[in-house]
């Protein structure tokens, strides 16, 4: 490696680290405990943890079958499906929010029928979970599909020749083999759920305790109570660091 690469590399590292340091330096340690444990902060944190957990569970429920189908079969149009499924990964979240509104909103594609049977999704905590699941699902599918392809089908074939039924093979052989990939995919999905902002504020709205998750709270507070916004941001940074540590430990990154 040429030695001059050190300089731009250090610049790149500083580019990431400096802003994080700046937010940590902005925190006032004297008021921090009170700000992070204020009722509104705890309410937002609790809502965020609940919705992100539900969103991750939904991602696993929907993502595992999808990743398996994508990794283990081949059919016409599979490439197209794969590309479309990954779309929320690169789509601006506010566009995702609009798309969800036109699907589940009162006048939306499905929302119209749901409304007739008395189900209204926008402005509810369920809407938050849907927004989070929509943007986080590709993370899980991508990591799991990768893990499935790397693990190969050798053990599955052996299990089948020994007389195991497909469902048994899937449960006893396939899933345990890709458990690390599933775990790291879930952790990434959880982090993405926790950080969701654009789709949530567009689709779910903003109401304390119902749809106002941590990122929305930070956005709202940054104008009138910057100290509280910084304190909440620090909590999110700490959670993010924990997530990265966890995912790296499982060698996902």
């Amino acid at each position: 490696m040429p030695r001059w690469l050190w300089f731009p590399a250090a610049l790149a590292a500083a580019f990431i680290i400096l802003p994080l340091a700046a937010i940590v330096l902005r925190v006032d340690p004297a008021t921090l405990p009170a700000l992070v444990t204020s009722p509104s902060a705890l309410e937002a944190l609790w809502l965020s943890l609940r919705t992100a957990t539900a969103g991750t569970a939904l991602c696993i429920l929907l993502g595992v079958p999808l990743a398996t189908v994508l990794a283990r079969t081949s059919f016409r149009g599979q490439g197209l499906i794969r590309s479309l499924v990954l779309l929320p990964l690169v789509l601006p979240p506010v566009v995702s929010g609009l798309a969800l509104l036109y699907t589940f909103g009162r006048r939306g594609l499905l929302g119209q029928s749901l409304d007739l049977v008395g189900i209204q999704i926008p402005f509810t905590t369920l809407a938050v979970v849907i927004a989070q699941t929509f943007v986080a699902l590709p993370f899980l599918v991508i990591s799991l599909e990768g893990a499935l392809r790397t693990s190969g089908t050798r053990y599955e074939a052996v299990a089948a020749t020994l007389g195991a039924r497909p469902t048994t093979v899937f449960r006893r052989v396939t899933l345990p083999l890709v458990a690390p990939g599933l775990l790291s995919g879930s952790v990434l999905a959880f982090a993405r759920c926790l950080g969701e902002f654009g789709a949530t504020i567009t689709f779910a709205g903003n109401l304390p305790g119902v749809t106002s998750t941590m990122p929305l709270q930070v956005y709202l507070l940054r104008v009138d109570d910057p100290d509280a916004a910084v304190a909440l941001s620090l909590v999110l940074v700490v959670v993010a660091i924990a997530v990265i540590g966890f995912a790296r430990h499982g060698r996902a990154l």
Binding site: P2, P8, L101, G105, R106, R107, Q120, P122, F123, I201, A204, G205, N206, L207, P208, V210, T211, S212, Y219, L220, R222, V223, D224
Partner: protein
């Protein structure tokens, strides 16, 4: 290997060009004016900016619209604004000496916006407290939310909104999409939205009036040019544009 620094130079140049950095930007006789204005002024100030550009050849007016409190925070953080128009005096006051000479130029009152045809049959302010009615309001930090809170206090009607939005445009978006039964916005927003909403006038609207101040900001690149824009807003022409949009006299 020797081409690497070349690539780096090209990439750096590309970033500078694409982000508009660098010195060879615009000619000498071209002047820029940046106007920050409350979201409720979007239509009127866009029109006034166009007029201003016509009257001052070579001047390019950039407008930025948002919740007043948002804009105040941006200005305090050093956003390059020359003129600021707030939807209430409280937010203008936060700027202190940064606002050189705030002057009231318009007033606005609240009105209920409902999806076309008013499907939830909202007839007045008290209907907004009806259980099951999906009402969207501005968060109390922004002027329209502050006015809403004041109206609730004055009338004793306690609204339980389904969402508290960052600006009046966000409230309107939730109403036009049909997902909210009603939203509390300004009279002028209902006028501007045309057929996409049905307005329900408030009997009590006169009791809460927001006065809109405008000011040249300390640190404006060209204070004279900025003052000329303020003068246009205060002029007969400016006042007519505002009146046509439903604003009342300050």
């Amino acid at each position: 290997m020797t081409s690497r620094p070349g690539i780096a130079a090209v990439a750096t140049a590309a970033v500078l060009v694409l982000t508009g950095c660098g010195s060879a930007n615009g000619q000498a006789d071209e002047r820029d004016l940046t106007v920050f204005a409350a979201a409720s002024l979007t239509d009127t100030f866009t029109e006034l900016a166009e007029r201003f550009e016509k009257e001052h050849p070579g001047v390019e007016v950039t407008t930025s619209f948002g919740g007043s409190s948002d804009l105040v925070a941006q200005i305090e953080d050093g956003a390059p604004a020359d003129v600021f128009a707030s939807a209430d005096t409280k937010n203008m006051g936060k700027l202190g000496d940064l606002a050189t000479d705030p002057r009231a130029f318009a007033a606005n009152t609240l009105e209920i916006a409902t999806p076309p045809g008013n499907p939830a049959k909202i007839s007045g302010f008290q209907d907004l407290a009806e259980p099951g009615t999906k009402v969207v309001v501005c968060t109390v930090e922004v002027p329209c939310g502050n006015a809403t809170a004041e109206m609730e206090k004055l009338t004793g009607v306690d609204i339980e909104p389904v969402s508290e939005e960052q600006s009046v445009s966000d409230v309107l978006a939730k109403v036009t999409s049909g997902d909210a039964d009603a939203g509390l916005v300004y009279v002028t927003d209902v006028t501007a939205a045309g057929d996409s909403v049905t307005g329900v006038e408030l009997e009590e609207s006169g009791r809460v009036v927001n006065s809109y101040p405008i000011s040249v900001l300390d640190g404006a690149d060209d204070a004279e040019l900025a003052q000329a824009f303020v003068d246009l807003v205060l002029s007969e022409t400016g006042q007519k544009v505002l009146a046509d949009a439903g604003f009342s006299q300050p």
